[in-house]
């Protein structure tokens, strides 16, 4: 295998001077081998990160990632890329803060610019009760050593001039909170960066390869049936986001997960006017401006089980009208695209990163609408779990058993309603 071509200012200059003819493909396109030590199903950020950390942290490089479409074409490529660790529950704080720390070094670690931009994630609120909630949550963060600040209306006016702070609107904004180290990253680059770095360590990335069955003998996983033939596997890690229920069903397992749609939309590009990510509590809408200048707007779930990946026009209208209410200048922008992704909504709103009741089989899933920020830590923890056949302390709380023992991690206190989180 050829050594990975490292990217740097010098390689860029060399490329520029030689007409950009010397660039190698960032990863190989190998034929699947008959078997691997570990096979990862799903070539989104989570699956690719798992493969990378298996090879880098645990020395397990006889690994394949099987992706039925193209890598990064699932939710990784459909999300609004908000990265933050502003959680209330200690288990979530520890996990997402670990993830944020990995994000902070990721471009260097992968030798690939994932364009992580810690520009600050702001949540604004409208009532005393909401203020109390957010102050409590952010005090909890500070207590855990995570950065968090309270913002007055004048702070907000200074940080986000585009926000309508007038008392005349339906739900006026009374204040906000910020996690300054939160931000956004380039979604495709995360998939590509992990793919390239994993490939360089010997991992086979196999696209156009759909898993159709899981082979189990005497309670132990032995391989997978795929559209490109059977592939043997010592261990299998599932990282298929909204498709988790379907994959585990192949192993006769049921999950406390329902599949729902989340919509996002993006406008034509305009000059930079907002360098923060802003979430509005009253309207369930969040807005940021991409590096290309587009205004990226996300909202809540359609609210009923769906695999259609289309998104309801009713929800789109909610999202857009809320964006226009709080960011009036957005009302004159044309929307270029809208889309939806299939979300694996768990019954407590928290993920499952755990071994499953078949020997050698583990999963990461149940990411609801917040799994992009988790990509590094999810891969890190699933790799650990597969390598050691036991969870790391960081992901031990995210077990499948917790739904039976009652040790659920219900950040929003919404109860067992998949679409309520």
């Amino acid at each position: 295998m050829a050594a990975m071509q490292r990217y740097s200012i010098f390689s860029l200059l060399r490329g520029a001077l030689s007409g950009h003819r010397g660039w190698q493909p960032a990863w190989r396109a190998p034929e699947p081998k008959s078997s691997y030590d570990v096979v990862i199903v799903g070539g989104g950020g989570h699956g690719l990160a798992t493969a990378y950390y298996l090879a880098r942290n645990h020395g397990i490089a006889n690994v394949a990632v099987l992706e039925r479409g193209w890598i990064g074409g699932g939710n990784t490529g459909r999300n609004t890329t908000i990265v933050r660790s502003n959680y209330l529950l200690p288990e979530n704080q520890r996990f997402y803060e670990h993830s944020l720390k990995l994000w902070e070094g990721l471009s260097r670690d992968l030798n690939y610019n994932v364009m992580f931009s810690p520009r600050g994630v702001i949540n604004v609120f409208h009532t005393d009760a909401q203020r109390d909630y957010w102050i409590r949550r952010h005090n909890g963060m500070r207590y855990a050593g995570i950065d968090a600040e309270l913002l007055t209306r004048s702070d907000l006016a200074r940080l986000v001039p585009a926000l309508d702070l007038s008392p005349a609107i339906r739900h006026p904004i009374v204040g906000g909170v910020i996690q300054p180290r939160g931000g956004v990253a380039r979604h495709d680059a995360v998939a590509w960066g992990y793919a390239r770095a994993a490939d360089a360590l010997g991992v086979d990335i196999i696209q156009d390869c759909e898993v159709t069955g899981i082979d189990i003998q005497a309670g132990r996983v032995t391989g997978l049936q795929t559209s490109r033939g059977p592939i043997g596997a010592g261990r299998v890690g599932l990282a298929v986001a909204g498709h988790s229920s379907r994959l585990v069903e192949m192993a006769g397992i049921r999950l406390p997960i329902e599949t729902h749609l989340l919509t996002a939309t993006v406008s034509e590009p305009v000059k930079p006017f907002m360098d923060k990510v802003v979430s509005v509590a009253a309207a369930h809408v969040y807005v940021s401006q991409t590096d290309k200048g587009e205004v990226l707007i996300g909202g809540t779930l359609d609210g009923y089980n769906s695999w259609s990946q289309r998104g309801s026009p009713a929800r789109l209208e909610d999202i857009l009208s809320a964006a226009c209410e709080y960011f009036p200048r957005v009302s004159r922008l044309r929307q270029l695209r809208h889309w939806a992704g299939v979300m694996d909504m768990s019954m407590d709103g928290s993920p499952i990163i755990a071994r499953l009741p078949v020997e050698g089989l583990a999963m990461t899933g149940g990411w609801c609408y917040g799994g992009f920020k988790a990509t590094p830590a999810s891969g890190w923890c699933l790799a650990w779990t597969l390598a050691n056949d036991a969870p790391h302390a960081l992901n031990a709380p995210f077990s499948l058993e917790r739904f039976r023992t009652g040790a659920v991690l219900d950040e929003n206190g919404a109860g067992p309603v998949a679409w309520g989180h």
């Binding site: 049921r254 009923y304 259609s308 309801s312 019954m347």
Partner: protein
């Protein structure tokens, strides 16, 4: 946008309804006697098919009756709609 044919109100927009989830779940008849296992199954482990699904919808802004609706979760094609409690 779903247009749900309510037996009383006719074809109505999805925005008039509240979703109630998997209609295949059965609340244990005697909660005190139900095992933890049975409760967890009822609360957390629901059908999640990519295809035909039987589900509850509450006509919140209409007749305020619970409906049991057959809907394909992939194509959104609607099948039979009936009252959940006749």
């Amino acid at each position: 946008m779903l247009l749900i044919p309510c037996p009383f109100c006719g074809d109505r927009d999805e925005t008039e309804f509240a979703y109630g989830g998997d209609a295949g779940t059965e609340r244990p008849a005697d909660p005190g006697a139900a095992t933890d296992e049975a409760w967890t199954d009822y609360l957390c482990f629901h059908d999640n098919p990519k295809g035909p699904h039987r589900e509850f919808w509450f006509h919140r802004d209409g007749c305020r009756r619970w409906l049991t609706v057959e809907r394909d979760t992939h194509t959104h094609e609607l099948g039979a709609v009936r009252l959940s409690r006749p």
